[in-house]
Symmetry: C2
Amino acid sequence: MKKPTISDLAQAAGVSKTTVSHAFSGRRHVDPETRERIEKIAQEIGYRPNRAAQHLRTGRTGMIALASSMPFSVAAGPSRLGFLMEIAATAAVASLTRNMALCLIPPFQSGAQLDAITPDGVILVEPFQDDPLVQHFTGLGVPVVSVGRVPGREDIPHVDLNSGATARMVLEHLRASGATRIGLVTGEQRRNSYIETEAAYRAFCDEIGIEPACLQLNESGGEDLAAEAVASLLSRRGDIDALYVPVDAFASGAVTAAASKGLKIPQNIRLATRYDGLRAKLSRPPLTAVELHLEAIADLAVGLLMAAIDGEVAGPVSAPQPELVLRASTAS
Amino acid sequence: MKKPTISDLAQAAGVSKTTVSHAFSGRRHVDPETRERIEKIAQEIGYRPNRAAQHLRTGRTGMIALASSMPFSVAAGPSRLGFLMEIAATAAVASLTRNMALCLIPPFQSGAQLDAITPDGVILVEPFQDDPLVQHFTGLGVPVVSVGRVPGREDIPHVDLNSGATARMVLEHLRASGATRIGLVTGEQRRNSYIETEAAYRAFCDEIGIEPACLQLNESGGEDLAAEAVASLLSRRGDIDALYVPVDAFASGAVTAAASKGLKIPQNIRLATRYDGLRAKLSRPPLTAVELHLEAIADLAVGLLMAAIDGEVAGPVSAPQPELVLRASTAS
DNA sequence: ACCGTTTAGCAAATCGGTTTGCACGAATCA
DNA sequence: TGATTCGTGCAAACCGATTTGCTAAACGGT
């Protein structure tokens, strides 16, 4: 009771394997009548092409991979998982409709592990400069696209997150809500979103004539590190009355820091973050955040990747306009 | 500049393909000296076996799939994502170390989508009775293991979550913290954890002689539905002074409901949930929850699946002892 | 010296598709 | 009528591994 092969089907339909193959792939014309007969019989005997055989011949594996260079379960963990998972969920659907499987790459460990997987293409979520994942896959000749530009690698197609514009939007909102001294907390890794955000922030400070107050934290430190670092920043710079903290785990830390300093949100200090996940929503008070449209972004990324796999040189694509989600943490 | 094949390597090493194959797989003995030479040359020319060819020959695809029958991104979304993703993260690592790729199956849609993927095995997270995913894969002859028993399918290997014991533990804790009338909120779908939990709950009520108060909610309704339903329950049964709400999204709803009724947690009503994710941690007050050891569970599930794929008939395995995580929501 | 047993390695078949080159008849054209 | 094209389909090569059956040499025991 083995699974029927293309030969079985060909025999049952009284045609050759070639014809069956063409009937399915459409790479050559076959008589509509013949094709219909083949399809009908295929249904009956329950034929489904063997993926491995297809892949061997075509040189494709039929799978694309999704990876984030953020620590996966450690430290920044749960919040980042939300971000990645929202993308994963949509990407999985998008892949499947294109007849591809989406598989998960846990954070880079020994590197040898990565050999187990030979995807047709990879989506990297917010890689940083000289990210080993980028190097691994491009070195293998595997097409890579990223969510967020890869610093220093303009050649890699990506979905542009418009982090500069996003930062601008948030900063202006903070000011409109009454803030006069705004600080910024990002991460140490040179991810493009940080770079753009910082640039936009400095430009903004210049314009309105305030002294920049930047913090770059080690992402593995997570919420606790942020709580500590922000508290110390607030001690040094007592004039700060607002913070933009794109990484939501850090934003949680900032909430803790504010509380420890006896500062009320938003009365004494306003707080906005970027990823509108559970943290932002469940925080007390809930945090103003940015709707990034991750589903759309994931869709775009998959589309880009498919094009790249097909050898098309697609330029970067812009994510949909991000939107502010106003919450109590920045109420004026 | 094509990738070297086994033939190239064999030629370079002055042996046959067979010897190379055996050198790598170890399925037959090869002279250690020869093997070393082969490995060295493989390094030099950058040989890596073609997965597709291996799969074709061995009949394996080298990928296992992870699926949850919970709505993936809708409704209960983010919280569930945490649960699934914690498992996914560990499972991905566990798979990769076994030279397998882990791929994600988004929630059952048309069914036709699922054809794109032919995994060697599948891990299902808390499937319910007559779950279409179970039927799809077992029908295809693909080994299935589940996290949480599959009701009505004792033949499917699973990691037992000991939901009955967990419920007992939580209920006893609630009572110890001062509760006298405890209610239970679960989901409509017939997942084993609900079934066991309800049974343990009824037994518990019987024992201590209290009237059971159960709610079964549609999981797609998520937090909002729970808020509504729990509020109405609290109106009907004003005597209730504690709730065990295993699904964390529902627990969030219960928090809202309590607030809307003017009930203070834990003074007027105690609240405990199961999955110790962001919701439980970030809730105000933070919720007592259960450390399920999801990483260990995921590891066990992958192990079970590998055994099943290798044709071993492994019985169910028990998850590590769950532990209560005490938080303010049940302080006495 | 003989026979049985390891040991090391090879050639060839195999997995199930896709793709190429060719054949044959019918239709079109000069 | 002969040449050319088109439509349809087939046989065979091919993708790159694994696995089977076999050979030949080395070894050991009697």
